[in-house]
Symmetry: D2
Subunit: 343 residues, 4 copies
């Protein structure tokens, strides 16, 4: 079966494997206090143009989200997220398990705005309700859309004014920063968020994400929280060497760009087949509306996510490309569609 299920279903990028392999036959300090970690942090700081950022290597996305959020909030404080936010839907209540409510805002495109955030602030007015304190956004969003620099800056400035923290989930940050319509740079992320994470798993690492605290008043003692949640790998350098390799020669953005390019080609194919999209295609995820009568057929040949009914007569299927998607996989899909679609 052909597979456009996800961008973490690939193994590892050759450059990253090389970086990992190069560590053999050494004694290395445990728990992220070694030279590989130090060097990798320096590479990241250079990319961010942010010498004072506080950087930590994490094993995965969910544990990053729950460790960061529970570290920062007081027990009665809550986060605000889009209803489609990963922390709201797809982390089995990880944030609530640390004691915090996830307040959700309905959005059409997966993106928050100062107006949407403000509505939540106005509603939560006294001690009978939780106190919103952290705004969670993701870029790309779970719907494949991206923020513009102006949108990000406006949210950040609003948060500053309202004493909220802004946290950006960058599981697919490579695809966001490499998107055709993107105008956000790494240094912008250092300027316009309190915390963000640079996703590795979805651009070809074995595992690992990097959390960056721009606001270092809230990162104090973060390693205590990491240890408590099981987030410090004894051999953290396995994440560090991969992230370091990604920071060299624009590899990180290159891999994001390839993912997006493959999606762009898929997009044209779907459009030519007369199909429409549930959400604006801006990165490596395409949410395609298929006539219901085609769905079973498609799913018997392609492994993709099924998001269910989307309007009358249509079903939304997600096609996800990756750093490893090959041109011929695209062409095969094009041919396949010609065989089944007749619009």
């Amino acid at each position: 079966m052909y597979n456009f299920t996800n961008d973490y279903n690939e193994t590892v990028h050759p450059e990253l494997l090389k970086a990992v392999t190069s560590t053999t036959n050494q004694k290395i300090k445990g728990y992220g206090l070694d030279d590989y970690c130090t060097k990798s942090k320096e590479s990241i700081k250079q990319q961010l143009q942010s010498p004072n950022a506080d950087i930590h290597f994490m094993p995965g996305g969910t544990i990053t989200n729950l460790t960061v959020i529970s570290h920062i909030l007081k027990p009665y404080q809550a986060i605000i997220a889009a209803n489609s936010g990963h922390v709201n839907v797809h982390e089995t209540g990880a944030i609530e398990a640390t004691g915090h409510k996830v307040l959700t805002v309905k959005t059409e495109d997966g993106k928050l705005t100062p107006e949407l955030i403000e509505e939540m602030l106005i509603f939560h007015c006294d001690e009978h309700m939780v106190q919103p304190k952290l705004v969670y956004i993701s870029n790309t969003t779970e719907l494949g859309t991206i923020y513009t620099k102006q949108e990000l800056r406006e949210i950040y400035q609003f948060c500053q004014k309202k004493h909220l923290y802004l946290y950006l989930d960058g599981a697919r940050l490579a695809m966001a920063l490499a998107a055709t319509e993107n105008d956000i740079s790494f240094p912008d992320l250092a300027k316009y968020t309190d915390i963000f994470y640079i996703g590795g798993t979805k651009v070809g690492t074995f595992l690992g994400e990097v959390v960056v605290f721009n606001n270092t008043t809230i990162s104090k003692d973060f390693r205590f929280s990491m240890k408590q949640k099981g987030a410090i790998l004894a051999k953290s350098w396995i994440v560090a060497v991969q992230m370091n390799a990604l920071m060299q020669n624009n590899l990180y953005l290159e891999l994001g760009r390839h993912s997006n390019n493959m999606a762009e080609k898929l997009k044209t194919i779907f459009e030519n087949a007369g199909l429409t999209f549930a959400f604006k295609p801006q990165s490596n995820q395409l949410f395609v509306n298929f006539p219901n009568n085609l769905v079973k057929k498609i799913l018997s040949n392609y492994s993709v996510d099924n998001l269910g009914a989307m309007g009358i007569g249509y079903t939304c299927l997600r096609f996800c490309t990756s750093w490893a998607t090959q041109e011929d996989e695209i062409q095969t899909l094009a041919k396949y569609l010609k065989g089944v679609i007749d619009i």
Copy 2:
């Protein structure tokens, strides 16, 4: 200022004070293991016609909800509630603070149905999402509406089929059971819920609610959870004697009925003034749509809850009556309205 803010803003009903006062000059066993508690439980079981119910005396509503729910659920399990549910909005994230997500369903009338619950079950299909396990309803609902016996039975039977627990929050159970349109009895609650609580605070106790486990397989060790959450009063009998008094001579329902009757009179007054209601008036809470230009005036004379904009040009104010509301308070409001409303 006149006060229709809430039904817990009264002090204590004379019969309940008498019950409390009668306990003086005694040594009484601590932590709910005394004879007053035993006797009170017997009275309640009689009302319920349920000799095997497992009954516990609790200090208040929020602590009842959080203790019951956290006792029953496994860490990855969630509850389903109406978006207007008390546990979702007005308990400062008490349920989440015990680690559990509150899944919310949008409803117009504050009531859940098997269909609404089933939608949540279908969506939550794998281990990347929480596992819904307990359905939380309240009667009366937070919007003043009530369940019919058939609605309750259908939800219960659906829950049974789907291996969900049904928990009914009875903070205003007296008003529900005494409502004109009600056909649910105490024994029905024993039959058609797994757990429910009989609210005391809103019908004139100093404090105290009674939680009833009909499904005693899930109440095992409940006193451990009570103690851990700080929910066992050393002198639990202060709750027990009041609840016992409420069970005598139908006092409980009487107090609910009086609350409802006063609301019924208010309802006629509002209708005569040409006003409409945001939610169907069925008990002691009236959600009245006021033209925006009247709101400030009303609020400067009456202490009531302001629920904010309700459609274009209208603001919803909640008038809440109680067991202690006096006929003349109603008449004063009627006169007042005549002076200010001109429709």
Copy 3:
């Protein structure tokens, strides 16, 4: 059976009942925002000579401990307590249930010292271990002993130096402050702790304790935590009016003194019978070492706590007096002992 089991096995002191009864037939604001609460807080501040103290009315001891401690600590921080501390042993893991470790220090007399605390600080040196942040003491201790002013001051000053918070559990504060050997005053508690609570339940209230934050930087938003944990009673004034009555005419200390006096008389009786004490008798709890052959007999006539083996051949039984203990109960015990002891 005669009963020296506990000091909360009495009902309510007449003055406190009077205070509660006086509230009838009123509308009173909910959730602790009413005039009774305000007035009661003023009485307490006067006693403490501390106009800026931040004061809250709580339903019971366990919920006070868990709400205060979880409000103050960050997730990776721990408390230090004597191994006999109530939070360690007798609250069903209430503190751990909010996520925090209770570090325990072995003590002979239930009292902490700067040296004992420092040992814990030295041991907990990095992020692989919890970070001790709050010192929990109780006065009287769970072993009936009391702190001197110098001891308290030294602990407080040590805590200040080490950036630890000092929290004093005053479930039996009345007995501590009324002890013959005591030299601590209410104003001293305001000076030498960050937070403490004034126990009500064990000196004759129906229920209720008062938590006092001297350090108001850590009490910010405390009502959010109270609501979340179910600790704000809708009718908080039931606690407030009782505490207010206790603050009048030294009633609080009077009741403590009576409890202690009755214990003092018991102490003489036990000593005359040739019995010894497991812990120094300083307040209303006596831990008496009984020859094993007497224990069954004593327990068949007296309801007291059995603490088990205490050295070879002896068993420790706790006799607890209260504000309501009568002279003739003491004399009856004296006579009884003469009948059974032959040393």
Copy 4:
């Protein structure tokens, strides 16, 4: 500086690197549902002679402990551990952060016995105290000692009788099973524990441990808990392929044996130098008592753990060998000691 600090300070064993490298250029299902995971589980089941074991791949030890324990226990239940237990001391309160108390038993050798466990059961007799439900042991223990088969069986049978779960932390299981004095086999672990984990990090994996539920009634829905705690790696196969390689040709035990052999040689050297051990040397950790005047010198040349004062005049330093320790490192230490020790 020479380094006997820890067994996770090595990088990766060549066979394991080979296994990891062999996965390139593939699409692999996410979240542990792939063929590599299936195959690896089969290898492990074969070793255990336990076809029905429920097996999961985890990123590290702390997250394994907290996920397993919080999955199994009810909120008011506690675990029993040796006071030296890793979950008690070195996981920053990870277990408490999930809400559960760690009850600790003082032991001289890091090992629990039915008698020690029973004392805790007897003490915890009612709902004012936590309910002990899971016994946590580790093999090797944190003090380098090992359990005999008879000791393990007796604990297990006692747990069965008392309705407790037995969980064995196998971070250094390879060293335990390969110890000269060991008589426990893999199939014994399947028979005499409810759950255990097979440690990978300390025998040369990049990362990863394998949790094995022998008692599958308590593993139901475990993947929900894994996802919630951030314990399911998207590319879980990186752990699976390494564990599979360790199961081939007795590699797992070989690596444990090498670690132990190197320690055995160190032991002889220390003994020849007239030094004694704080705990019986049975595996790859040696706790050596050094005269205080030597400690500074040793620590300036060797990176080892300093456990502090051990009796009068002595300080305990831990020397830890590993699968990668070289014969010449041992010889160098022997020479070094000759130069500094003069007893």
